[in-house]
């Protein structure tokens, strides 16, 4: 039985007549790296702002670590670390001083050892005592993650944490998230509009579009749901497609004049034999399955890189 760290129940946020978030039911389980995916403006950040108490829901409920995080009882927030819509700091203070300030706000007292460890963890130990106004965007993102990790939270809520990072920065953040889950037992809720970023690190994903959660599943389940098929390179693709449809009753998509894809449980040898027997020249036959990107593309209506 998985312990639920975060659950939302028909969570809705309305601005005027528009439902920016519309009845979202998220379930984040302990140990998950939950990828919260959706195009820009889909409602990801609004959802995360409600989860972290920055805005109040119009209707619906939130359960954080089994409690209802109302604004009057905020003790639960000590167990949540978050980085919402980009990092924010007091620019005249150093990275270490910003961390110290947050330690005070979190009520954990000044702990120089924790600050050193966190700066080390995010590769800022050499620059941690410089004023934040001199930091690059990548350094600020990493400091933001360090700040979210103060007081060893049980849930880490990261909204687009790799925005503005180069590929090396992407790789570092991915490695850090894996480390946090495996070594520290932290659960991560990670929002992103970059599928490939989430695909490589997430164990479960939720896809949101126009405020509605379209699907919530493990990455494995999602892959399993994906349609398998045979990609066939053949002369006279249109005739070959008609032939396969007629004889096998399987759905066939013609990609172009010499390529087609046979969906469903197509047997490669049978399809090849059928085509050869009917004087088609088969130059290539490959088994393939839809990538997560294609699934995401279909779900979000064409916003795979939203």
């Amino acid at each position: 039985m998985h312990e639920t760290v975060l659950a939302t129940n028909a969570l809705t946020k309305r601005y005027g007549r528009r439902n920016v978030v519309d009845g979202v039911n998220l379930t984040v389980r302990r140990g998950d790296i939950y990828g919260f995916l959706g195009p820009n403006g889909a409602g990801k950040t609004t959802t995360l702002r409600m989860v972290t108490g920055l805005i109040s829901p119009s209707s619906g409920g939130i359960s954080l670590l089994g409690q209802n995080p109302t604004r009057s009882s905020r003790a639960i927030m000590r167990q949540i670390g978050c980085l919402i819509e980009g990092p924010a700091f007091y620019p005249h203070l150093s990275g270490a001083q910003n961390l110290c300030l947050m330690q005070t706000l979190k009520g954990i007292g000044h702990d120089e050892k924790e600050i050193s460890e966190l700066l080390d963890l995010v590769n800022l130990s050499k620059t941690g005592h410089q004023a934040v106004e001199r930091y690059s965007l990548g350094m600020k993102q990493r400091l933001g993650i360090a700040m979210a990790l103060l007081a060893r939270p049980r849930l880490l809520v990261l909204d687009e944490p790799t925005n503005g990072l180069d590929p090396e920065g992407f790789r570092e953040i991915r490695a850090l998230l894996r480390h946090l889950v495996s070594d520290r037992g932290i659960t991560v809720l990670l929002s992103s509009h970059l599928l490939h970023e989430v695909e490589q690190v997430a164990s479960r994903v939720g896809v949101i579009r126009e405020g509605r959660l379209l699907i919530e599943a493990s990455v494995e389940e999602l892959r399993h749901q994906s349609q398998r098929g045979l990609e066939v390179s053949v002369d006279r693709a249109a005739a070959a497609a008609d032939l396969i449809r007629e004889r096998t009753k399987l759905p066939v998509e013609q990609v172009n004049g010499c390529t087609l894809v046979v969906r469903g449980k197509a047997h490669a040898a049978q399809i090849c034999a059928l085509l050869v027997r009917n004087d088609h020249n088969v130059s290539r036959l490959v088994e393939r399955e839809s990538s997560l990107e294609e699934i995401f593309f279909n779900l979000t209506g064409g916003a795979a890189h939203a």
Binding site: L54, R71, R78, I80, C82, A88, Q97, T104, L105
Partner: protein, 243 residues
């Protein structure tokens, strides 16, 4: 509450705006010094402090309070740092009240500073007469108390407008209204001018002798404004969405 106040103090150390408020506060004694140097006569201690009080409470003080009140809130919007305080395990009302306390204490500290500044000017000019430092300190602290009435008003304006420009415009208008109104029959009911009317009466040089005896009304208006603005700002912080 203590940790919210402590965090607030940590935020503002080494900021430019603290230095600006110190510099602005010391402008009043500096103006007194320049005025007496131009006149070319040796002032009495009561003149040094009296003139210093006029400059401080009627013009420089209100502008400084505008800066403190506005900047404490506006910089959180400017740096996008509300989300740090508002996602911490501290109630929202406490985050705001901590800001109010820090602002209030800073205004009172600046009131002491301006007394020290006037003292330095008096010594520099070789002021004559009886020096009653404690009495003037009491008056300036009362002045600081009176001026801090507007602190939650500036907070509220900044919370709603979400920037310092609106607050600074509002502060300039209210300050100059106070200067224009000081000699009118409405002087006692306008927060910034009523402080000076009250203090002038206390120092034995009443600006409006006809208004003596109506102090409870003045103080009631002052406290009413402060309490309503404080309550409104706290409620706004508690209820508003941070977007």
């Amino acid at each position: 509450m203590l940790r919210a106040i402590s965090a607030e103090v940590q935020k503002w150390r080494r900021t430019w705006f603290l230095l600006v408020t110190i510099g602005a506060t010391l402008m009043a004694p500096l103006l007194v010094c320049i005025a007496f140097l131009i006149m070319g006569r040796t002032p009495e201690w009561s003149q040094v402090f009296g003139q210093g009080m006029t400059f401080s409470i009627l013009m420089i003080g209100p502008l400084t309070v505008t800066l403190i009140g506005g900047q404490l809130i506006a910089s959180e919007y400017q740096y996008d740092t509300w989300k740090l305080s508002l996602t911490a395990p501290v109630p929202r009302w406490m985050v705001y009240v901590a800001k109010w306390i820090v602002g209030f204490v800073w205004i009172m500290a600046l009131s002491v500073l301006v007394v020290a500044g006037n003292l330095a000017v008096g010594l520099l000019l070789g002021a004559t007469g009886q020096l009653e430092v404690w009495l003037w300190l009491k008056f300036f602290l009362l002045g600081g108390l009176g001026m801090s009435v507007m602190l939650p008003v500036y907070h509220l304006v900044t919370l709603i407008s979400r920037n310092f420009f609106v607050t600074s415009g509002f502060g300039i208008i209210t300050t100059f209204t106070g200067i224009f109104i000081i000699n009118s029959k409405y002087a006692a009911i306008y927060p910034q001018s009523s402080i000076l009317v009250m203090l002038a009466t206390m120092t034995g040089q009443p600006m409006r002798p006809d208004m003596i005896g109506t102090w409870p009304i003045w103080i009631g208006i002052e406290l009413g404004i402060a309490l309503v603005a404080l309550l409104a700002s706290t409620l706004y912080m508690q209820k508003a969405d941070y977007r």
